[in-house]
Amino acid sequence: MQFVSKPRPDAKTLAPVISLFVLIMGTSLVTPGFLDISIVDGHIYGSLVDIVHRATPMLLVAVGMAIVIGTKGIDLSVGSIIAISGAVTAVLTVNTEWLPFVVMGCALLAGMACGLWNGLLVTVFGIQPIVATLILMVAGRGIAQMITGGQIVTFHSEFFNAIGNGFFAGLPLRVVLAIVIVVATALVLRKTALGLFFESVGANAESSRLMGIDSRMLILIAYVFSGFCSAMAGIILAADIRGADANNAGLWLELDAILAVVIAGASLSGGRIYLGLTVIGALIIQTLTTAILTSGLPAQYNLIVKASIVLLVLLIQSSRTRDFVKSRLMLARRSSHVE
């Protein structure tokens, strides 16, 4: 079993960590001053902080995605949920006098309702996760546009400005928020049996059910949690630009999130949740994006690099590749014995 707090130092878990380290070192060679961290007005600044700051929304989505993928599912609707929760935040802030906490609660509830919808389609109706979440992915941006009335709603609120760009104890507030959520999730998953249950459902839902685990309820919870995480990301993104853009908020974020989970080494066929490594995976992707931008390469290389990396990771993970390499090694060893 894999503990989040104590990752077993084998090759599989070390690979993402080493990749992140190499990536940061490589970038700092190309871009001088990449590692510099300065403290201005009691706030931490620097490229590395900027990477963490920018990675926060995707990281949150990836954490929710990691759990959904752990139950052998997938959530394609996260981008739409981001748009919906951002729209709810903006519209409620502009049109009501409600406290920011209440507004934020409503946005989170909207995201969780979306997650509940996905979960119900997957569990009660038995629709494949790709297709079940595809429905909300198609319709969700339309719903978000209905909420905003088809416009980019801009808003002003001290509270949400703080969430988007504020600082707490020297660290960006949104980073603190993400850390709290990730640590809380890790504690709940690993200090209770819940994490094992999720992985057991992902490995084999039917045998888990026969063992007395309520598979349906757990899958439902996974999607609701993913909705919660995406809603949080949506609030942060809306607070960042002080507006809700139903068309572009969180566009293609689902791909980055899935990529982060895959880099973490989790199999898409379920049964494994690596929360800590998923966070590292998210940081790798953001570092790559930032590195490509700061190194002066055209931004369009970004997509090609990401695609190549995901293919590479998949090919390395593939059991067929491993079998092939193993058989080759065996052959080589045998032939050397003969000589």
Partner: protein, 337 residues
């Protein structure tokens, strides 16, 4: 002939007729064949994509890279014609070869490395969009006297309508797809793999080779859709056709193809895409509704069709189980609902 395989297709036809009938009842303009032929022209690229997607979904896979492929091929075509001055026919042949090559590569990775098609084609989605950006960042017009001649081809039909070149090209590609699916060994293999990969392989179906061919075919069809789209818009734009993969999947599902594979009709994709087109046209004719209603309507329709498929599969399974065993075991779906 009325069995569970045909039922979804019949439902699709009923929805199509109802929507079109509503249009004719509500708006005078719908009575012209112009509306119908415009549907064919405007949705040609989507239908062509959906035909390729049908094969992938019937085999139990999914191809998310088609939208990016359309953009990539469009930009490539614009570069070949406007940038290098190659004749459009040769440029189209080169573009189709490139598209088929990339489709084949994805198929090889899916088949021989046993990686889920979903994630491989997701990487393809990134890659083709990136390649499109690499060639060009702006929208490039495609100007050539040959394309002007093509655009002038117009077969008039009674009732103010008429078939354009791309509508006819779409129909040719659709018919080829239908024939390949039902009248060739490859088509039968696709159905067999979608039904059950293991049994298909035991029965002697070359599973891996067929899978590669399926994704090559999907690459070819989305490449052809890219060419159709480029002729339709008269330009190549790297941000074109974002999200078309979802429209294509929706078209295939609404057309009565089971997402679990093994069951479906290529002609269903044609009807599914036309239904989406009609919804769009109705919303435009209404004038008061916003365009985002299209997305919501398609989402709702997609849901209804998936639920209907589930229902049909559920009841036929129950029926066949009952005829075999006297007391069927409780189906888990009904248990915890």
């Amino acid at each position: 002939m009325l069995n569970e395989r045909v039922l979804p297709l019949i439902a699709t036809i009923v929805v199509f007729v109802l929507l079109y009938g509503y249009g004719i009842y509500e708006y005078k303009g719908f009575r012209d064949t112009l509306v119908f032929t415009n549907l064919l022209t405007d949705n040609a690229f989507l239908i062509v994509t959906a035909v390729g997607m049908s094969f992938v979904i019937i085999s139990g896979g999914i191809d998310l890279s088609v939208g990016s492929m359309i953009a990539f091929i469009g930009v490539l075509l614009a570069y070949l014609i406007s940038g290098l001055g190659i004749h459009p026919v040769f440029a189209a042949v080169i573009a189709l070869c490139v598209a088929t090559f990339f489709g084949t590569m994805m198929g090889v990775i899916i088949a021989y490395f046993d990686i889920q098609p979903f994630i491989v084609t997701l990487a393809g989605l990134f890659l083709f969009r990136g390649l499109a950006y690499l060639i060009n960042l702006d929208s490039v017009p495609i100007d050539h006297s040959f394309l002007v001649t093509l655009a002038e081809i117009y077969v008039p039909l009674p009732g103010r309508g008429g078939l354009t070149f791309i509508a006819m090209a779409m129909i040719v590609l659709l018919v080829i797809g239908m024939v390949v699916a039902k009248r060739t060994r490859f088509g039968l293999n696709v159905y067999a793999i979608g039904g059950d990969k293991q049994s298909a392989s035991l029965l002697g179906v070359p599973v891996n080779r067929t899978l590669v061919k399926i994704y090559a075919l999907s690459g070819f069809y989305s490449g052809a859709a890219g060419i159709v789209f480029a002729i339709y818009t008269g330009s190549g734009y790297p941000l074109a056709a974002v999200g078309v993969e979802l429209d294509a999947i929706a078209a295939v599902v609404i057309g009565g193809t089971l997402l679990t594979g093994g069951v479906g009709f290529v002609v269903g994709a044609f009807l599914g895409a036309l239904i989406q087109g009609i919804i769009q046209t109705l919303i435009i004719f209404d004038g008061t509704l916003n365009s985002w209603w299209t997305k919501v309507a398609i989402g709702v329709l997609l849901l209804l069709f998936i639920l209907m498929q589930k229902g049909i599969v559920h009841f036929t399974k129950r029926y066949t189980e009952k005829s075999v065993k006297p007391e069927p075991e409780a189906v888990p779906v009904t248990k915890a609902a």
